[in-house]
């Protein structure tokens, strides 16, 4: 337990650190701080999707920092929609393929690309281009999981409302979970990014709509399934009429990556115009809740951001 004094001390220290980090050059800072803090909070890389993805992971310490040899990895992209790459409803196939390749290079024993699409079969996987891109990395690694036998009930111990749901077994067995959402709007939750995207790993999404408060249930889920690496595909951004579209497609050509899913999402919210308007992370209900419940930060103005143009 912390008492108020300790809390204030910690706050003060953090403030001092943040203030310092804006003045002290990065190299000096990284030598001063511990290993985990030696990388930027969020990286934004502009370039072709595959190259930018590799560079973004590299700036966060390389895939080796997340995936140890022999580990099982699950990558969760958006591939639920029967829509092509230009529509921005699904993650760019090159981003997914680059991540899968990086995991392989880091020595992962298995890499799976999983999503629970709206309909069974491979139609949306094919339309998105992700199936073909993944086949070139490893046959059969990209799967749409709609069969209930591939799910297993899991308890969400820290949940406020949704105390359990069935989760894809391969996700429960994985050592590393990587979220690779596309940046897009969602008419229920404002945006759908890495935190909201975890809904694609459970069997019964509907219960999150009709029984629980959606935002609360999203955070309940993300507390159980927190990705250790988030790579948001903002090569194209579906800035209106999400999640399916068709809608306004922006083309920033960027990749936003972070170890902190809330920080990555918050940065994506702050970086682009949604329905032609500038929005703040605090205007996205589930991100506010996630930060309050300790899942990550939404204070984009205080983050250590590394921007790279390839």
């Amino acid at each position: 337990m912390t008492n108020r004094r300790q809390f204030l001390k910690a706050q003060g220290a953090a403030l001092a650190f943040c203030a310092a980090s804006t003045f002290v050059p990065g190299g000096l800072l990284s030598s001063l701080t511990s290993f985990a803090q030696s990388f930027p909070d969020v990286v934004i890389v502009k370039g072709s999707p595959a190259q930018a993805t590799r560079e973004a992971v590299n700036l966060l310490g390389g895939m080796g920092a997340f995936v140890k040899p022999g580990q099982k990895v699950v990558i969760k992209p958006n591939m639920s929609f029967v829509a092509n790459v230009d529509s921005a409803a699904n993650t760019h196939p090159e981003v997914v393929a680059a991540l899968a390749a990086l995991c392989r290079e880091a020595g992962a024993s298995s890499v799976l690309v999983l999503d629970h699409a709206f309909q069974s079969g491979n139609r949306s996987l094919e339309a998105s281009g992700i199936l073909a891109a993944c086949e070139s990395i490893g046959a059969g690694i990209c799967r749409n999981v709609t069969q209930s036998r591939n799910y297993q009930e899991a308890d969400f111990e820290k949940a406020l409302q949704m105390r359990g749901n069935a989760i894809i077994k391969d996700v429960l067995e994985a050592d590393v979970l990587i979220a690779a959402p596309v940046a897009k709007t969602n008419s229920s939750t404002g945006v759908s990014l890495s935190v909201k995207g975890q809904m694609g790993l459970v069997l019964d999404r509907n219960v999150m709509h009709y029984r629980y408060d959606l935002d609360t249930a999203i955070v309940d889920l993300c507390q159980r399934l927190k990705p250790s690496l988030v790579v948001i595909d903002a090569s194209r951004v579906l800035a209106s009429n999400g999640p399916y579209g068709p809608g306004t497609v922006l083309r920033p050509g960027e990749i936003i990556a972070s170890r902190d899913p809330v920080a990555a999402d918050a940065m994506a919210v702050a970086s682009y115009q949604w329905y032609g308007r500038n929005m703040k992370p605090r205007q996205v209900g589930h991100l506010v809740m996630a930060s309050k419940r300790g899942l990550g930060r939404i204070d984009v103005e205080n983050m250590n951001v590394k921007k790279v143009l390839l």
Binding site: A88, R149, N206, G245, T248, Y275
Partner: protein, 544 residues
Amino acid sequence: MPKITVPDGKRFVFLRRTTQTSSIALFFVLLFSANIHFFGLPKDIFLRLDPLAGTLLPVVSRSWLWVFWPAMLVMAATIICGRFFCGWLCPMGATLDAAGGLLRRFFPVRQRLSRFMHTSAYFLKYLVLAFMGCAAFCGVNLIFWGSPIALLTRFYGLFLAPALHAASNFLLAISEPLLREMDAGSILYALEEPHFFHTSAFVACFWGVLLILELIAPRFWCRYLCPAGALLGALSLFSQFRRGVLLPKCAHCGQCVKNCPTGIINPKNLSSPAQECIVCGSCLASCKFGAIVFSSASVSRTPTKESLLPSRRAFVTAGIGGVIVGMALPIVSAKASPQQYVRPPGTIPEDDFLAVCLRCGECMKVCPTGGLQPIGLESVFSGIFSPRLDPYSGGCLPECTACGNVCPSHAILPLVLAQKRYAKIGTAVIDRKECLAWGEDKRCMVCKENCPWNAVEVVPRPGYAVPVPEVRNEHCYGCGFCQKACPKTPAAIVVESTDALRLNSPDFEKAARAAGLRLQPASEISAQALPDQESPALPPGFLE
């Protein structure tokens, strides 16, 4: 006419068995193959061979259905060589032969029916035919209750296939630990979950009864009940190629009587009525004395004493029964089921549809989402077993044209995609009291995110705490994915048959444009083509 005789019984039976086996094998291949054509053979060829459908569907629909020319061939051939179709080609006959043979081996029940019972039951099928025929003349389609190929297609496609699929899923589930141990976990993803069909219980019971009847008499259905058999039997009365007995050679051993699967050889004079003989050759193979011939020569025939045909009075009574039902049914059904069903895309207008739909279930079997379901016993007076879209089971895929292209009677038109995509089947309607967003202030856009037609908008409306869904009717196809996905049970958004396009010709694009519809799948709409949207004060889903 040249004299044709078949002397070698064993070879004859071997040839028949081979044909029967190939026939049912082909039936399975066509039913279960994903392709519409198999080496040039259309998927529905067996249904189009069905003589009952080929004769009575044109009568019901008052139109010449040229697609049933194979059935005409069968009937023409029957006039020459008897009910060979039943013994050689019919996959239902082959199924009953195989299943009945197995059943009789495992449950050797003594066949108790007296000869009197048997001989007095053969005429039943002619009454069934008279009944269905007269109803057909009154414009009522009862054919599907007796068309053997339709019954069989329904049984295999809508009951047995899902049952076997479920069984393989169960096997997969119990072998999961082993598969994961062997690092073959990917197999677990390979098999989708089966689509089950409504009325399965009824189909199972119906076939259960048929198989139990096989214990009472082999080919019970074909002997006593099958109206298609009755039709072919009537044509066989004129057949040239038929069974005969050379009495001087006959030792009266009774083997032929015992081995006849339809039980029609008279034990006294060994004659058999041509209309009941399925030309299977069992008697020929069982005769050690060479006393039986199948021949086009009339000299060898022994005259038949028993006709086994129904009495004129019974026949006329059955016919009148058919007329009464044929007159009454439209009146009763108009009162009983005013409900308009959501039919598959490209379905012809309802009255024409009910007249020609064979209820074979091909469209439902082929539907990739399992959304096409048979209408159940609740609609016993008219639409029973005919297809409707049940969105709770699955939606109608924008890029699929399967159902129309397998329909044997063109009750669903075979459309190309360019036309099918305009064949609107209904319109989604939101129940604002039940809807999570409209009625309970809960944020939900599941209908929108599942809509392949971009027909649902989720928009802020004054007086409502959250953005609410609205259906744009002219964009809505009625595909039903919204209803399937709606978190509420029952769904707060349901497809009704409102504004469905039902045409007799395949020009749906024109009709859709004339009706002011703007059907375009979301996947085809490019973002550049969108009209400029004014940005809302607060984008949907964001907080102030």
